[in-house]
């Protein structure tokens, strides 16, 4: 099933995803072309359609690059990780408990503002992320230009402009994924400037408690915020101690030890 690609080190592994070294999640708003990026990376031909909500459950595929095997998980598109529709739950649960080594956030270059909402929410959970600015061809046609270096600095993650349909930017994206996956240290999640009276003190106190009870928890501040908002799923995960199972991604530990 493997076939040589024009990007010499890339081998598309299709559905052969066992024994992968790294797990990569694909997240993003609906209809931003996640499945097209997924197909471009894995060589699979998952059906894509031009309407939001096409990917209903998560799809998996694989590729290998530079001697490492990567498992890629295509998550359903969501506008946020806040409220709990089944789609958002699938995406959020995977980002939180699936602990991908790298999360590729696919955003539509033509409506960045709305897409950034989700980007910021993902970055509160994990900073092991790469932003794939898809549909750059469409953005150009609309007369939109994006300063990707500035954006990368603001967000604190690499930003790759792409047009997945034609394959533009895919080699760069793969390179960035592999660099991020091999990174030993996991940067702390990005903080939101929350200017709400009393929130910071409350967050500090809950975060402190969480650190005491679950010392390994990688994103205590995000969990604290979800608890204060009364998020049932997270409250249950804390109650059952399930949330304590969260540690840094297995792949990152592996690289750190070797």
């Amino acid at each position: 099933m493997t076939c040589p690609s024009r990007f010499s080190q890339l081998r598309k592994l299709g559905l052969r995803v066992e024994d992968s070294d790294f797990v990569i999640a694909l997240a993003g708003n609906p209809n931003t072309g996640k499945t097209t990026v997924f197909n471009a990376l894995t060589g699979l031909r998952m059906h894509t359609g031009n309407w939001p909500g096409k990917t209903i459950s998560r799809a998996e595929g694989g590729f290998s690059y530079g001697g490492k095997r990567y498992k890629l998980v295509d998550l359903p598109g969501t506008y946020s990780l806040l409220s709990a529709s089944p789609d958002e739950e699938v995406a959020r649960t995977f980002l939180l408990f699936g602990q991908p080594d790298v999360t590729v956030i696919v955003a539509e270059a033509t409506c960045m503002e709305r897409n950034l909402n989700l980007v910021l929410q993902v970055l509160q959970i994990t900073r092991r992320a790469v932003l794939c600015l898809n549909l750059m061809d469409e953005a150009r046609a609309h007369g939109i230009s994006i300063d990707t270096r500035h954006l990368a600095r603001d967000l604190g993650i690499p930003v790759i402009p792409c047009a997945a349909r034609s394959g533009e930017g895919i080699p760069e994206l793969i390179r960035e994924i592999s660099t991020m996956a091999a990174r030993a240290e996991t940067p702390p999640p990005r903080r939101l400037p929350l200017e709400i009276p009393g929130l910071r003190t409350a967050l500090d106190r809950v975060e402190e408690d969480l650190r005491e009870v679950f010392p390994q928890l990688p994103q205590p501040r995000w969990v604290a915020l979800r608890l204060l908002e009364g998020d049932r799923e997270i409250m249950q995960a804390v109650q059952s101690g399930e949330i304590g199972a969260l540690t840094v991604p297995a792949g990152a530990q592996l690289t750190a030890n070797s």
Partner: protein, 469 residues
């Protein structure tokens, strides 16, 4: 040492000190931050050219006065292309697989000295059923699916959902049901799975129960054949194809009407509740990648559906042959059933043969027509076949001759088209409904509701027809 319960208790207390609208304010902060970041790194240099034509197109495709005619025209055009385009390749496949292939296999079995029952079961039963399914199904699917996928990739489907949203809202259903029904036009099992995009369990159940009213591709061949053979031939010469396409379009739209009616009834009775609003983004139009779409829809959709049909056709072929050749008492199993079902069938404007065909065809709708033809030959003893339980070559002319010999009239064809629209889902869809709902009750409702509608509809049409004629 604190416990998880302590953390939750602490949170509970702290929550009282925070603003009531915390959720909204957090969402606002995130939106504000996103807007600031976007502003810093994005520059716009006037609206591009593509925006202008997209807006113009959207004005036509979402305006209530133009949207509905355009949607009906597009569906009609696809059906027309499918009917006209499938004719020639279907003919070639029939002569290749059914005429020549069957003759060749018969020769081989004769040369090998195989017993008659073995040749009958394998060649006349299994092989012919399969060959027929491929010849009848492959060409229309190979045209219908790519057309549909191209429209989907272009961005037409969300506009359809947008236009139909108000009708669905009035029926008490969810606007996204338009998308799942469109998927159902390809395959009902796929349509049922697609209802996962509907969040409210109530509206999702409505979408699941009514999905069967979308004509699936296993039923398109029945519709198309009946329309071509019985209705198209009533039209003046040269108009046959168009009239046939029009009558199939009417049946498909009737199905849509039934889905709305059933949704409305369900939402007023057992599945009562508020219709939830939803926001559906109208994505930009994107030029589909023609060759890639063609390839993907051929490999991933057409061949998969065809394979499923073949897998079901092989045992069904054997079952049909056995039904027609194994006798209990003085007549075959098939004859027993057909005679018993005749009174009920007459009330519905159908024949006992058709009802038996629908029992045999529960695994796959695709084999309804081959079964009907084979059984008609058995009962009427019409010539042209190669003996009891053997399906034979079938161009439109000989199909008409055989069926007329079996007592068919235009009424029978019309009622068959309606019954093909309204009857129980195929076994795959029934199983999928059970897997999605995990409820025997709702699976039963989804199975029996269309069947009841079909009985009522056919009986009414037949009664009115007989009074008028």
């Amino acid at each position: 040492m604190k416990s998880p319960a302590d953390v939750l208790k602490q949170t509970e207390e702290l929550r009282w000190q925070l603003p009531q609208n915390l959720h909204d304010r957090i969402a606002e902060s995130i939106h504000g931050e996103a807007a600031r970041i976007a502003e810093r790194s994005i520059t716009r240099s006037g609206a591009g050219r593509r925006l202008a034509w997209q807006q113009k197109l959207d004005r036509v495709l979402t305006n209530p006065w133009t949207a509905f005619p355009v949607m009906v025209l597009v569906l009609g055009a696809i059906l027309w292309v499918t009917i006209i385009g499938a004719n020639v390749p279907s003919g070639i496949l029939t002569s290749l697989l059914v005429d020549q292939g069957h003759a060749l296999l018969t020769e081989w079995f004769a040369a090998a000295g195989a017993p008659a029952w073995l040749k009958g079961l394998l060649v006349d039963g299994m092989y012919l059923a399969t060959a027929w399914v491929i010849a009848v199904m492959l060409p229309p699917m190979a045209i219908f699916f790519p057309c549909f996928t191209l429209l989907e990739d272009f961005g037409f489907l969300p506009r359809v959902a947008f236009n139909l949203d108000r009708i669905f809202q009035k029926a008490g259903a969810h606007g996204k049901q338009a998308l799942t029904m469109a998927m159902g036009l390809g395959c009902n099992a796929a349509g049922v799975v697609a209802t996962r995009i509907i969040d409210s369990p109530r509206e999702r159940l409505i979408a699941i129960i009514t999905n069967n009213f979308s004509l699936c591709n296993g039923r398109w061949p029945t519709q198309i054949l009946m329309a071509s053979v019985f209705i198209g031939t009533l039209a003046p010469k040269g108009w046959g194809g168009s009239i046939a396409a029009l009558s199939v379009l009417i049946v498909a739209l009737t199905g849509f009407g039934f889905a709305m009616l059933a949704s409305w009834l369900l939402a007023r009775t057992v599945l009562r509740g508020e219709a939830t609003t939803f926001s559906l983004e109208l994505p930009p139009y994107r030029p589909p990648d023609f060759w890639k779409t063609l390839y993907t829809s051929l490999i991933d959709r057409t061949l998969i559906v065809l394979w499923r049909a073949v897998v079901f056709a092989i045992p069904a072929g054997a079952a049909i042959w056995l039904c027609a050749n194994v006798s209990i008492g003085n007549q075959t199993i098939a004859a027993w059933f057909i005679h018993a079902a005749e009174p009920l069938a007459w009330t519905m404007g159908l024949t006992g043969v058709i009802l038996l065909a629908y029992v045999v065809a529960i695994p796959a709708n695709e084999i309804v027509v081959p079964t009907i033809l084979m059984l008609t030959v058995l009962v009427t003893g019409a010539t042209g076949g190669a003996g009891a339980g053997v399906m034979f070559e079938t161009d439109d002319e000989s199909v008409r001759a055989i069926l007329t010999a079996g007592g068919w009239t235009t009424l029978t064809a019309v009622c068959l088209m309606l019954f093909s629209l309204c009857h129980n889902p195929c076994s795959t869809t029934i199983y999928t409904i059970y897997r999605e709902t995990r409820s025997v009750k709702w699976t039963m409702v989804s199975t029996l509701l269309p069947l009841a509608a079909g009985f009522a509809l056919c009986a009414t049409v037949a009664a009115v027809w007989r009074v008028l004629a």
